[in-house]
């Protein structure tokens, strides 16, 4: 399993043709090169609209790339797949409102016709993993924001996705819930060894979670301006001087980039 899950992004471009045919196309991603190791917690950090979500959408297989290559374990990505579980920020669209918690988590297994006793066992385990045991019969409109994100995470685990793609998953949560969810995510990552690709615009969140942080420049022509290694163990105390320096560095980097 050592190299099978490595993600390799090579000279990736994404452009949208402008309406005026004579004009140059607009590049949202401009020559992205990135290697993400199997089991890595990789954070994409940047301003809103800087193209970091576009990268995730390309890796997830939702958006076509213009040029370049994105490979997982040596295989080119061109469509969505069960190996990549996606956790969206907007849980209201990302959880089926007509299914209860249990059925939402079971959906993928049912679609792929996994045998019933086995399926129930997996769903039960995943519900327990995200601590929704007493809520399995509830419908999405009866759940809090944090619970909805737990459902999305449990769904990816139930599908046995090796890569978790998370697009600002905690962006809509209040700060206390967000901190709890962050800690649980780290725990889950350590327990399962999954690769996590996590998009955020929150520097604190990036430094609190990531093993590696790719800092994006401003769109259009978004590039990765720096990749920061953070081998420090979790849980992290961001008030320590070493973390403070890193946060300050990123803030300086942004200050150079973004002349508002």
């Amino acid at each position: 399993m050592s190299e099978s899950g490595d993600i390799h992004i090579d000279h990736l471009y994404k452009s949208y043709s402008s309406l005026n045919m004579e004009k140059e196309p607009v590049y949202v991603l401009n020559d992205i090169n990135l290697d993400i190791k199997d089991g890595e917690f990789h954070v994409f950090l940047g301003w809103s609209g800087c193209g970091k979500s576009t990268i995730l959408n390309i890796i997830a297989g939702f958006v076509e790339k213009t040029q370049g290559s994105v490979q997982i374990g040596g295989n080119e990505i061109y469509k969505p797949g069960v190996d990549r579980g996606v956790v969206f920020q907007n849980a209201d669209s990302a959880i089926f409102s007509w299914l209860n918690v249990w059925d939402n988590i079971e959906y993928g297994l049912r679609i792929r016709k996994s045998p019933k006793p086995e399926r129930s066992e997996v769903v039960r385990r995943c519900i327990h993993l995200v601590q929704l045991d007493s809520h399995e019969k509830k419908y999405p409109h009866e759940l809090s924001g944090g619970m909805k994100q737990r459902v999305q995470i449990a769904r990816s685990i139930a599908n046995n996705s090796h890569i978790l793609i998370m697009d600002e998953p905690f962006g809509a949560l209040d700060s206390q819930t967000r901190r709890i969810m962050q800690n649980e995510l780290i725990q889950l990552w350590r327990d399962t060894g999954k690769t996590i690709l996590f998009v955020t615009h929150d520097i604190q969140e990036a430094v609190y979670l990531g093993e590696k942080i790719s800092v994006f420049s401003r769109a259009p022509d978004a590039k990765i301006i720096r990749t920061i290694d953070l081998p420090q163990p979790h849980p992290r105390d961001l008030t320590l001087p070493s973390f403070k320096t890193i946060i300050q560095d990123i803030q300086d980097l942004f200050a150079e980039e973004y002349v508002i």
């Binding site: 297989g61 907007n90 409102s97």
Partner: protein, 286 residues
């Protein structure tokens, strides 16, 4: 006990009884206010006002031109007693039900296909947007020629009326599904056909249901038009032909029955939506 103290107690007693009286007045006032609120909220005021204006209006003219509510009720009782009204109601009910159900059966699949596939949308949308402005009544003579003088021409007219609200709302329902919802299914390995069955259809249920409700309204409205078509019986027939017998009071009975059955049918349908379709997000609408 000193004099001043006694005076104080007396004064206190007086205030107390006064406040007791105030309290009763307040209670009556709030009761009256609640009663008024109740009458207003449940439509009693509206109906009372309508009946009053109607009765007053009828006094200014003769009963054949505008019979008052009392005359209309008397006329209504007459056709209830001889069984005519129930007979007609049953016949109209069956026509509306058949036309409406047929309309749903045609419009929901079309709406789903048009909402889902761009090609279908480009072909059908101009068609839908042209004919939805042509009322069912415009087709009366054509349908008579095409479907004959039997039941089918009447049912066809009601079907026509039901198709547009149902299909337009179904199309809107499919098209308003968030791309994220589709992506969730894609990333779990669902095929396009599986997505259509397990996501597109359930996600559009609330709007399909709204269309079905509006379609029921359209069906009931067009019963009068449908029963202008060589009909022998029915509520629409009653309304249309009573003038020939100078029974203006029966026209009012017909109008009242039509309004009442529409109102009750919609109530029933909403109850069905609230209970049976609750998990699809069908809730009490405005």
């Amino acid at each position: 006990m000193t004099d001043s103290r006694r005076r104080y107690i007396f004064a206190a007693h007086e205030t107390q009884s006064e406040s007791e009286m105030n309290c009763t007045v307040k209670k009556i006032k709030s009761l009256l206010k609640n009663g008024w609120e109740f009458l207003l909220a449940n439509g009693f005021i509206t109906w009372g006002l309508l009946l009053l204006i109607w009765q007053l209006g009828s006094l200014t003219t003769n009963a054949q031109f505008l019979p008052g509510p009392i005359a209309a009720i008397k006329g209504g009782i007459e056709i209830v007693q001889n069984g005519l009204l129930l007979d007609y109601l049953g016949i109209s009910f069956l026509r509306v039900l058949r036309g409406w159900l047929l309309g749903i059966a045609i419009a929901v699949p079309i709406g789903l296909a048009v909402g889902q596939f761009r090609t279908f949308r480009l072909i059908f949308e101009p068609f839908v947007n042209f004919f939805r402005f042509v009322p069912a009544i415009g087709f009366i003579t054509l349908f008579l020629m095409w479907f004959g003088i039997g039941e089918s021409s009447k049912v066809a007219l009601i079907t026509y009326a039901a198709i547009f609200p149902v299909s337009i709302n179904t199309i809107a329902g499919v098209m308003s599904i968030s791309p994220i919802t589709i992506q969730v299914a894609q990333s779990q390995g669902a095929s396009p056909f599986q997505i259509f069955c397990t996501v597109t259809i359930p996600a559009s249920v609330p709007q399909i249901f709204t269309g079905i409700r509006l379609g029921l309204g359209g069906s009931i409205v067009s019963i009068v038009g449908a029963e202008m078509l060589a009909a022998q019986k029915g509520i629409g027939y009653l309304i249309y032909t009573s003038r020939l017998y100078y029974r203006t009071d029966w026209i009012f009975t017909g109008i009242f029955i039509l309004g009442l059955s529409g109102f009750l049918a919609d109530r029933l349908l909403r109850l069905f939506g609230r209970t049976a379709l609750k998990r699809f997000g069908v809730r009490e609408s405005k």
